[in-house]
C-alpha cells in the first residue's frame, strides 16, 4: 500500500525551518524545496563551523530547486510553480511577499485550489510582529522557557521546540484546508504564529491563575499535580519517576522495600503530603538518597513490578541499542546513514519506514523542473549567470 500523502504536491519556500516540509515528505508527499542559490537553506550550514552537517536529515525526501525569489525573475518562477501544486508554504509574512507578486491573492488567481501556508514567529499583526525570527526568542517571550529548569535558573531547550510545534500546527492546518479545497474547489490562506502556538499549549499556568489566583513556579523535573514526579541520579545514570496516585506510590514503596518509611501508616502514604509544597523538603532528600544506592536497571525493574510510570533518561547512546526503539522502527536507513524514523505508524502499510529518499544537493532539481517552472531551455544559462537560479548536478 502507498504512503498516506502520495500524490500531494508541496512547494516548500521555507527558510531555516525544515519541519514543515519534512512532515509532508516523511509521509509520502512530493516536496519541492526552494532554496537560495549559493548557500542554500540555512540548515545546510548548521554545524559547518565544526565540520558536521545535518542537512541530510533536514532535507531528506525533498527535491531541491535553487531560485532567488527576492528578484522578479525568480519570483516569477516560484509563482509559476505554485500554479501547479496543491500547497505552497512560506516562513515569511505575506506583506513581505506581496511586492514580489507572491501574496495569496496573486497566486490564487492562477490556482484557486491552492493552499497557502505562512509561518511567522509572532503572527502578522501586533507590536511584536517584526521582532527577529529565532526559536529561542519566541520561547523567551512565551513564558514556557522561564518556567523550564531548576528554581535557580531557566533551562534552554536543546532543540527548537517552538518551531517544531508551530510547524506541525501549520501542516495540520494546511491539510485541513486541503481537505476543504478538495470538496469546495477553493483553497485558503493558513497562517500560524509560533508564539501563539507556545502560549496555547500551556496546560496549567493560565488555569491556575484563573482558578487559584496563583502563578507558576519553576519546579525542575517536578510537576505540580503528580507527586512525586522527579529525576534522580542512580549509580550509573539518571532515572525519571512520575507517581500519579496514592496506589502507585504505595506500590512503589513496597517494591522498593521501603514500606516502613514511605508506605501505609507513614506521613507520605497519601497526598497532599507528597505535593510540591512539602516535596522539596524531606521526601525529596530521601528519594535522592535511595536512588543513589541502586542502578537505573534496578530502578526500572522496581517501577515495572509496581506498574508505576518510571524510566531511564535515555540519550542517543541508549536509544541506539534500545529494543523498544528497534521494534518501533524509530531508527531507519536513509541514504546510507541511520536517521530517526517516523512516529505515526499506518498499520499494515508496509514500506512507510524504509522508503524515504535522501535529500538532494542544492539545485539538483532545477533542471528537471525547468519546464514546469516556465523556464525556456535557452534561458537556463542566462538565469544562472544572473544568479537567479542555480543548477546542481
Amino acid at each position: 500500500m502507498s504512503k498516506p500523502l502520495e500524490g500531494l504536491r508541496v512547494l516548500d519556500v521555507s527558510e531555516g525551518i525544515p519541519y514543515i516540509g519534512s512532515m509532508f515528505a516523511d509521509y509520502g508527499a512530493e516536496v519541492l524545496k526552494v532554496e537560495r542559490p549559493g548557500a542554500g537553506d540555512a540548515v545546510r550550514g548548521r554545524g559547518a563551523s565544526q565540520n558536521v552537517s545535518y542537512a541530510s536529515y533536514y532535507l531528506r525526501g525533498k527535491k531541491s530547486l535553487a531560485v532567488d525569489y527576492t528578484v522578479p525573475a525568480g519570483a516569477q518562477i516560484v509563482a509559476r510553480l505554485a500554479a501547479g501544486v496543491d500547497m505552497v508554504v512560506f516562513t515569511a509574512a505575506e506583506d513581505t511577499l506581496r511586492p514580489l507578486g507572491l501574496d495569496y491573492a496573486s497566486l490564487k488567481a492562477a490556482n484557486p485550489k491552492l493552499v497557502y501556508g505562512v509561518l511567522t514567529p509572532f503572527g502578522e499583526a501586533g507590536p511584536w510582529k517584526d521582532l527577529p525570527d529565532y526559536d529561542l526568542l519566541v520561547m523567551a517571550r512565551s513564558g514556557l522557557l522561564e518556567k523550564t529548569g531548576f528554581p535557580e535558573k531557566p533551562t534552554k531547550f536543546g532543540f527548537p521546540l517552538g518551531y517544531v510545534y508551530a510547524s506541525w500546527h501549520l501542516t495540520a492546518g494546511m491539510m485541513a484546508a486541503y481537505l476543504a479545497a478538495q470538496s469546495s474547489g477553493e483553497g485558503r490562506k493558513v497562517s500560524c504564529s509560533s508564539w501563539q502556538t507556545m502560549m496555547q499549549l500551556d496546560d496549567t499556568f493560565a488555569e491556575c491563575f484563573q482558578a487559584l489566583n496563583t502563578l507558576p513556579k519553576r519546579l525542575g523535573n517536578g510537576f505540580p499535580t503528580t507527586n512525586p514526579t522527579d529525576t534522580f541520579r542512580c549509580k550509573n545514570g539518571w532515572f525519571a519517576l512520575s507517581v500519579g496516585s496514592d496506589a502507585q506510590w504505595l506500590g512503589f514503596a513496597h517494591e522498593a522495600g521501603m514500606d516502613a518509611v514511605w508506605g501505609e501508616g507513614t506521613v507520605y502514604a497519601h497526598d497532599p503530603e507528597r505535593s510540591m509544597d512539602h516535596y522539596f523538603g524531606e521526601l525529596d532528600g530521601q528519594l535522592r538518597d535511595y536512588f543513589a544506592t541502586i542502578t537505573i536497571e534496578e530502578a526500572d525493574q522496581i517501577c515495572r513490578r509496581a506498574m508505576v510510570p518510571g524510566g531511564p533518561c535515555n540519550t542517543v547512546v541508549e536509544l541506539a541499542s534500545d529494543e523498544q526503539v528497534a521494534i518501533r522502527n524509530m531508527l531507519i536507513p536513509v541514504g546510507g546513514e541511520t536517521q530517526l524514523g517516523v512516529p505515526a505508524k499506518f498499520v499494515g502499510q508496509d514500506g512507510q519506514d524504509s522508503g524515504i529518499a535522501p535529500g538532494e544537493a542544492l539545485g539538483a532539481s532545477t533542471r528537471p523542473v525547468r519546464a514546469g517552472a516556465g523556464i525556456a531551455p535557452a534561458q537556463l544559462d542566462e538565469l544562472q549567470a544572473q544568479g537567479v537560479i542555480a543548477c546542481g548536478e
Partner: protein, 404 residues
C-alpha cells in the same frame, strides 16, 4: 452580534473521540477548533479523567475546560449492548475515531479498529499511547515525564554535567498530540483518495525522539560527544541565556557585526579584538569564558533595557518573560491571544485562541467545554435516533446527562 465568517475548514468532518488523557484530548481540541464536529464519548458517571484534576472553579476543573472547548459530550455506558450500538451508529457517520486507552483496552471493549472498520471501511482510527502498540514496554504505564525520559527529550536539555530536564509543561503529551493530529488528517486525505480507512498507531516516546535528531547523527557518524549543551548553542557563540539584574535575557550574535555590536552595547569594545573572542570559532572554543565575561556585564542590566539596547544595535535579543508578563503583554492583548467564553458552571473565562488562522480569521470558539453528557440527546438525534428511542436509552441507564 451577528458575525459573518467562513466556516472552519473541517466543517462536516465528524470525530468520535474516546480520548481521556491530555495527548489525545489535544487532537480533538484542535480538530474542533478547525470546525470538526467532535463527539466526546465519556464513561457514564465518570467521564474524562481531567474532570477530577486541580484546579477547580465551582466544582469544574479548569484544566479540563482548557482542552475541551468546542466539543460535545455524550455520556454512555459502553459495556451495554445499546451503548455499543450508539457508538456504531456514530461511527457510520464519522471520519475519525480517536482513542488513548491503555494499549488493547479498546479491543477488549469490542470497539477496536477491526470491529469499527466493518461498520465504516473509510474510518481513520487513531490509537495514541505512551510507547505505541508494540514492543517490550507495551504494557507499562507512561506519563509525560516518562516519555520525556525514555524518548531522549529530557536528556537533550540541561547542563552537560547536570540533570536532564523535562519541559515546564506537559510537552511530550501535546507534542505527540500535534503529530497525531497531522497523522489523523493524513488518514482522511488517504481515505478520500483510496476509499480505504486506516489504523494509526502512535507513541509518545517515539514522537519526542525528534529532540535527538542532531545528536543521533553525531552518534551514528562516530563523532558522539554529549547529549546536551546547557543554555548555549553548540555552533554559535554568543547564543543563549544570560543572567540579568532582574531575570534572564536571550542574546544571539550569529554574525561578526552582531558580535561587535554586543561588545559595544555591553561597554566592552576591546572584546572584539580579544584573540579568545575574535571569530565565532574562537568564541566557541572559549565559550565558558565568554559567557562568564558577558554575564559579569549583563547582571548589571535590567532584562528589558538590555533587550532594547541590543535590538536597537541590530542584535537579536529578548528578555525571558515570566508567564504572567507574556500572558498580559501588549502583544497578547493586541492579537487576541485569549478570548472571553461563557463557560457552563463558571461564567466568563479567558481561553487561548488557536494559533492557526484561516484567511486571516481566527478559529472561533463557539462554546466552552461541555458538562458531562450535556449533548447526549442532541448527538443521538443528529444521527437519527427518535425521541422515544433516546428516552428509552436514558430509562435503561445506557445514556446519561450527569451535568457535572
Amino acid at each position: 452580534m451577528e458575525q459573518i465568517k467562513k466556516a472552519g475548514p473541517l466543517q462536516g468532518l465528524k470525530v468520535v473521540d474516546f480520548t481521556i488523557a491530555l495527548a489525545g484530548v489535544y487532537i480533538s481540541w484542535q480538530l474542533a477548533d478547525m470546525g470538526a464536529e467532535v463527539w466526546k464519548i465519556e464513561r457514564k458517571g465518570a467521564g474524562d479523567q481531567a474532570r477530577t484534576w486541580d484546579p477547580f472553579i465551582n466544582g469544574l476543573s479548569t484544566l479540563y475546560t482548557a482542552y475541551n472547548k468546542n466539543k460535545q459530550s455524550i455520556e454512555l455506558d459502553l459495556r451495554a449492548a445499546a451503548g455499543k450500538q450508539a457508538v456504531f451508529d456514530m461511527v457510520k457517520e464519522a471520519d475519525i475515531v480517536l482513542e488513548n486507552f491503555k494499549s488493547g483496552s479498546i479491543d477488549r471493549l469490542g470497539l477496536g479498529y477491526d470491529v469499527l472498520r466493518q461498520i465504516n471501511p473509510r474510518i481513520v482510527f487513531v490509537s495514541l499511547s505512551g510507547f505505541g502498540g508494540s514492543g517490550p514496554l507495551l504494557k507499562y504505564p507512561c506519563y509525560d515525564a516518562i516519555a520525556a525520559a525514555r524518548g531522549g527529550f529530557a536528556a537533550t536539555n540541561g547542563e552537560p554535567d547536570g540533570a536532564p530536564m523535562k519541559a515546564g509543561n506537559a510537552n511530550c503529551d501535546t507534542l505527540t498530540g500535534t503529530h497525531a493530529l497531522n497523522a489523523a488528517l493524513m488518514g482522511v486525505i488517504q481515505a478520500r483518495r483510496t476509499g480505504q480507512g486506516c489504523h494509526i498507531d502512535i507513541g509518545m516516546t517515539d514522537t519526542v525522539m525528534v529532540a535527538c535528531g542532531e545528536t543521533l547523527l553525531d552518534y551514528t557518524r562516530g563523532q558522539y560527544q554529549q547529549a546536551r549543551f546547557g543554555n548555549h548553542d553548540r555552533f554559535t557563540a554568543p547564543y543563549g541565556l544570560f543572567e540579568t539584574r532582574d531575570g534572564w535575557a536571550a542574546v544571539i550574535a550569529d554574525t561578526e557585526p552582531r558580535w561587535q555590536a554586543v561588545c559595544s552595547v555591553l561597554g566592552r569594545p576591546e572584546w572584539a579584538a580579544d584573540p579568545r573572542f575574535a571569530t565565532n570559532a574562537d568564541r566557541i572554543a572559549h565559550r565558558d569564558e565568554l559567557v562568564q565575561a558577558m554575564e559579569a556585564e549583563t547582571v548589571h542590566w535590567k532584562r528589558r533595557d538590555l533587550e532594547k539596547a541590543l535590538l536597537a544595535a541590530g542584535v537579536p535579543a529578548s528578555e525571558v518573560l515570566p508567564f504572567i508578563e507574556a500572558y498580559t503583554s501588549d502583544h497578547a492583548n493586541a492579537t487576541g491571544c485569549t478570548q472571553w467564553v461563557d463557560q457552563a458552571k463558571i461564567g466568563l473565562m479567558r481561553f487561548y485562541t488557536n494559533p492557526l488562522q484561516f484567511d486571516d480569521q481566527p478559529c472561533p470558539i463557539h462554546c466552552g467545554a461541555p458538562l458531562l453528557g450535556q449533548d447526549s440527546r442532541q448527538v443521538l438525534e443528529s444521527i437519527g435516533y427518535t425521541a422515544e428511542q433516546i428516552d428509552q436509552l436514558y430509562a435503561d441507564g445506557v445514556v446519561a446527562s450527569s451535568m457535572f
